[in-house]
């Protein structure tokens, strides 16, 4: 029982990290129809700058703040310079954002060096505690808590505020939103920056979880986020959360019981969803 519980916590923590990365991706795709392959670059820059500041100041909290600010800034630059000229053209979007992803990845090596960096959780999040016979690792619980908090804040904004209402309407029908007198480009930019900040947050949280940092990690992890967006339904925020948890749990359990299949399970899940429900688990209605 304690093993299953431990795998469950592990899967939920991984799922939450994927969710943070996928949340921005699904909003960016849903609202702007942009396939942003540079999202992994934002993840890795958030991780590196956050860890750099964390190791310099010994404050993990400040590291998180720096990662988020980095995400917002790179998100702004990416939207203005890279994405804006190719709105409406998916082929160009794939090429230019993938290219920019590689640039961001290589720039990491230039700025921080090519070697892997070991990262540990801060003291107050290190170690574990026992609940009955079950060992609970503090840092994994912290990731789950942050994921729940981010989901709650985003849902509150989406459901209860005017900007959230505009974003939800924009995901369904951009043209109509413009016809109602709303500057959709401004909303695009805002959503892109928030999405980038969430990717960066995912990056800094992932670093102590995996224990080390390397430049290629962004591309590897963003593939999982794309799978989650497809499974959850492109543009669906709730769909992304559920799909991310599903992928995280599937990966955790498969890694223990069928290690050889642990990487294939995500692709398998995506294939099943695409065959039986091509629009994803949650469809945004126009």
């Amino acid at each position: 029982m304690d093993l299953i519980f431990s795998l469950l916590i592990n899967g939920l923590a991984t799922g939450m990290l994927i969710f943070l990365l996928a949340a921005g991706l699904t909003l960016i795709f849903g609202l702007m129809s942009v396939l942003n392959f540079a999202h992994g670059g934002l993840f890795i820059w958030g991780a590196y700058t956050g860890v750099w500041f964390y190791q310099m100041t010994n404050s993990f909290f400040l590291g998180i703040i720096v990662a988020i600010i980095t995400g917002l800034l790179i998100g702004y630059v990416t939207e203005r310079i890279i994405v804006r000229p190719v709105y409406g053209n998916h082929i160009q979007q794939i090429l230019i954002t993938l290219g920019f992803m590689l640039v961001l990845q290589e720039l990491i090596k230039v700025v921080f060096g090519p070697q892997q960096i070991a990262v540990f959780p801060p003291e107050w999040l290190s170690g574990s505690f026992l609940v009955g016979d079950v060992v609970l690792i503090k840092y994994r619980l912290f990731i789950i808590a942050v994921g729940i908090l981010v989901f709650a804040i985003c849902m509150f904004i989406l459901k209860k505020t005017r900007i959230g209402l505009i974003v939800r309407a924009g995901v369904i029908n951009k043209e109509m939103v413009q016809s109602l007198g709303i500057n959709i480009r401004l909303v695009f930019m805002l959503v892109f920056m928030v999405g980038a900040a969430l990717a960066a947050l995912s990056g800094i949280l992932h670093a102590p979880y995996s224990g080390n940092l390397y430049a290629e990690m962004g591309l590897e992890f963003s593939i999982l986020a794309f799978i989650v967006v497809v499974i959850g339904g492109m543009g669906s925020f709730t769909g992304s959360l559920l799909a991310a948890l599903l992928v995280g749990l599937a990966q955790a359990f498969m890694a223990y019981y069928f290690p050889a299949l642990s990487l294939a399970v995500n692709m398998l899940l995506m294939t099943i969803v695409l065959v039986f429900r091509p629009q994803g688990l949650f469809r945004v209605k126009g």
Binding site: A169, I172, Q178, S179, G181, K285
Partner: protein
Amino acid sequence: MNSLLNLNQVAANIGQYHILHDISFEVPSGGVTVLLGRNGAGKTTTLRTIMGLNPASKGSITFKNEEISRLKPHIIANRGIGYVPEDQGIFGDLTVGENIRVAMKKEDEGTTKRMEWVLELFPDLKKFWKKPGGQLSGGQKQMLAIARAYVNENELLLIDEPSKGLAPIIVEKVMDSINQMKEKTTILLVEQNFMMASKIGDQFYIIDDGQTIHNGQMEELKEDKVLMKKYLGIS
């Protein structure tokens, strides 16, 4: 009579296709101006061009004597033009209330009064206030689309084929609501249903192959069987 909207030799393309060649007309302040024409003549594209959704490639469009043809759609809308597209543009996942709230530019007394008035006009919207827009019937969606355009202080409403796909009894209801609305705002209406157009229209323009080819008072058109047969296919 003052001209509220003026199109002068407007041309517009959709991709590589030239849809509008020479559209020229005036919408006077007050009443209902109807754009008539066969399917594919360019009526919907004309409304989209006015809204800036299909930018004009040539010509001029002035609203309250100011050029708007190079402006972005949201700026045009904020100048005081409301738009009800052919597909109604309802946000299916949003409730009826949210569909209206997202359109409200202000929450002042005037907006509240207009909303109350429009909800009296369409009581179904009040009844289904918390229902997702995607679950409404075709007629209710049309009412929601019109209400959404009316809720702001717009001086001109562009309404594209409000009777399309609706049962005759619902068409009557929509027609009645537009008739009441025309007392309060100017309307530019695209309509295929000539019966409806002739009952609520004051003046008309006929569009054929991307050009305005004829105009006049609606009363005159009803008498002109030759014109109706030639350009509208009505005998």
